[in-house]
């Protein structure tokens, strides 16, 4: 099996071959002695050349992070056989930008009106969750093209609140 793995934005090529005692592993063309056991779901006990690592997996709808000890690595795995297409690239700095709710909550206040000119970092909407009011800010300087949030409405994580162009 061959995997293209991006770790913290850097590509690695990993070849894994099932052999008697475990897995034969080549990383970026170099053979590595690897022994792996899954003591439980989402936790991997990994031995690499005698060094021991407990690796934990943090999987969301869009992201995969691996914690090696207490260091967190953003990881993307492309298995040639995988059906999942790669996520689209990062949003462009130019053009319209959607402002989304970073967590579920309730919209308590709109801070600007449609059509307003805003600075990068200026608050657009206040969403309350867990007894805290959180200002959702504009990622760029521009004009508020649209406000889809309405005061008092419940929102889910990822819901579009406004668009700045």
């Amino acid at each position: 099996m061959v995997y293209d793995v991006m770790v913290s934005g850097k590509p690695h090529r990993l070849e894994l071959e099932k052999v008697d005692a475990g897995w034969k592993c080549r990383l970026d063309g170099k053979e590595v002695h690897v022994d792996a056991v899954l003591p439980r779901r989402d936790v991997l006990s990994l031995l690499v050349d005698g060094h021991a690592y407990e690796v934990k997996r943090e999987q969301t709808a869009t992201d995969l992070h691996l914690w090696v000890g207490s260091t967190r690595f953003p990881v993307e795995v492309r298995d040639p056989r995988s059906l999942r297409a790669r996520q689209g690239g990062a949003q462009d700095e130019k053009g319209p930008r959607k402002i989304v709710a970073p967590m579920p909550g309730r919209v308590v206040r709109l801070l600007v009106a449609e059509g307003a000119e805003v600075e990068a970092g200026q608050g657009i909407v206040v969403v309350e969750a867990m007894k805290m009011q959180n200002e959702i800010k504009s990622p760029k300087k521009g004009m508020v093209k649209k406000i889809t949030a309405s005061e008092g409405a419940a929102v889910n994580s990822g819901d579009v609140l406004a668009v700045v162009e």
Binding site: M1, K10, L14, L27, V55, V68, L83, M103, A129
Partner: protein, 504 residues
């Protein structure tokens, strides 16, 4: 002793109080809102009753509903925990009227300490040290100028009805004063409907240090040592420790004696905390009294060897304090980390949701008071405090080392937590040196994160692990396996299986 206690709270503190009750052979009654049916405090109780919708104002803050459950279940006492109704004198009075013991002070003591200016007026009479300033609102700009001259600049203007930084202004010199006063007054009016503003000398880089007291209903009051609570974000405590790195035995005794005088002046009973501001010359000034159990009470328990909740219950049931001031000893050092559901990488936004993976630390010197479990969905409706991790050591250094070890073992996936923030704090040079004040955390966060230490693993390990995970436990299947079973798991299981298989 009580046979049955209702716990009018949720989360880790409800679990903590229920544990104490079970230890004392007392039955527990839980109340829960619609989104808390599967919460840990309901699992741990002997009885549990629903009290309405998620919104606290319709459930955990509803005096009538809670008293109704208490009567129906035959509870003889109510423990309010912290937050919610714990400092609500009306609730304490309603309990008394219903013949149910409120585990805390009397409504009269709570009233007295509930308003900052009222408390200040009472306490000044009792000779308690305050930050120099006025105990009541300023009548005119001229009076403001006179007081500021007397206490010396910089001064702080504060709204009498205030809180959360609203109506507050720091004034460095006389020319700034008049305009600052006007703007503070109008902000106070807008925010609280009350323009009363008073002046205090501004304490530069103060520490926030508080003193725990216990008072029984027979006139005995003791202090149990201080807690250093200077590490705060948005006026919210994040990490507390006992003892304070700057308090020696003499200062502790002096603070303790003042705290006992405050409590006695308020006819205080049960557990309470006197908060002080401490300036750079180690002068301490009364700030306010918290008339309830504090979130951070465990650090006092670990350094004194006492159980404050056991003692609260004993006091409420009419027992005398089982020890005197001379018996109280402080030993070792304890530090508490408040584990919040918030995202350190995204401006500490709250992060409710389902906990997919939870690995919890244990072992020597580690206490864990938690309200969460793997598979639980953290509701968006309440305070983001999930759990408290408390490290104890022979000395401060060992307590820090043990907490670092325990944080290394702690892992939460599915929601974000501030666990990584504590790693940063505990590594910080100023923190290690005990150089703390209420501005510490903002300063630390303004600096670039020094990032992983020298012993951090290489990215190639993550690359290998990613491949091994893909081979040993493909994500689709993995995500399913661990789900806490839903009410009707059969249908959804079938669906997810089909999906998992299609991916192969």
């Amino acid at each position: 002793m009580f046979k049955k206690i209702l716990i009018a709270n949720r989360g880790e503190i409800a679990v903590r109080v229920m544990r104490a009750c079970r230890e004392m052979g007392i039955s527990t009654v839980a109340v829960y809102s619609d989104v808390d049916r599967a919460a840990l405090h309901v699992r741990k109780a002997d009885e549990a009753y629903p009290i309405g919708p998620a919104q606290a104002s319709e459930s955990y803050l509803r005096v009538d509903k809670i008293l109704d459950v208490a009567k129906r279940s035959g509870a003889e006492a109510i423990h309010p925990g912290y937050g919610f109704l714990s400092e609500n004198a009306r609730f304490a009075q309603a309990c008394a009227d219903a013949g149910i013991k409120f585990i805390g002070p009397t409504p009269q003591s709570m009233e007295m300490m509930g308003s900052k200016t009222r408390a200040r007026q009472h306490m000044e009479k009792a000779g308690i040290p305050f930050v120099p300033g006025t105990a009541r609102g300023l009548a005119s700009p001229e009076e403001a100028e006179q007081v500021a001259e007397r206490v010396g600049y910089p001064v702080m203007l504060k709204a009498a009805a205030g809180g959360g930084g609203k109506g507050m202004r720091l004034v460095h010199s006389r020319p700034e004063l008049r305009q600052a006063l006007e703007s503070a007054q109008s902000e106070a009016q807008r925010s609280f409907g009350d323009s009363e503003v008073y002046i205090e000398k501004a304490i530069v880089n103060p520490r926030h240090i508080e003193m725990q007291i216990l008072a029984d209903e027979h006139g005995n009051t003791v202090w149990l040592g201080e807690r250093e609570c200077s590490i705060q974000r948005r006026h919210q405590k994040v990490l507390e420790e006992a003892p304070s790195p700057i308090v020696d035995a003499d200062m502790r005794r002096r603070m303790g004696e003042v705290a006992v005088r405050v409590a006695q002046a308020a006819n205080y009973t049960n557990a309470g905390t006197i908060e002080f501001l401490v300036d750079q010359q180690k002068n301490f000034y009364f700030l306010e009294m918290n008339t309830r159990l504090q979130v951070e009470h465990p650090v006092t328990e670990l350094t004194t060897g006492l159980d404050l909740v056991h003692l609260q219950i004993k006091i409420a049931s009419g027992e005398k304090l089982p020890f005197t001031q001379a018996d109280v000893g402080i030993r070792g050092h304890a530090i508490e980390c408040r584990i919040y559901a918030e995202d350190p990488d995204n401006n500490y936004f709250p992060s409710p949701g389902k906990i997919d993976v939870l690995l919890q630390p244990s072992g020597p010197g580690i206490r864990r008071d938690s309200g969460m479990y793997e598979g639980w969905t953290v509701p968006m409706d309440y305070d983001p405090l999930l759990a408290k991790l408390i490290g104890f050591g022979t000395d401060r250094e060992q307590a820090i080392m043990r907490l670092e070890r325990a944080l290394y073992e702690y892992f939460v996936a599915g929601i974000k937590t501030n666990i990584s923030l504590f790693r940063r704090i505990l590594r910080d040079h100023d923190f290690r040196a005990g150089k703390l004040d209420t501005g510490f955390l903002d300063r630390m966060l303004a600096k670039a994160d020094p990032g992983p230490t020298a012993r951090a693993p290489e990215p190639r390990i993550a690359a290998i692990a990613a491949g091994m995970f893909a081979v040993l436990e493909p994500p689709a299947a993995g995500a399913k396996d661990g789900n806490a079973a839903a009410t009707q798991p059969t249908a959804s299981n079938w669906k997810e299986r089909g999906r998992a298989e299609a991916l192969r």
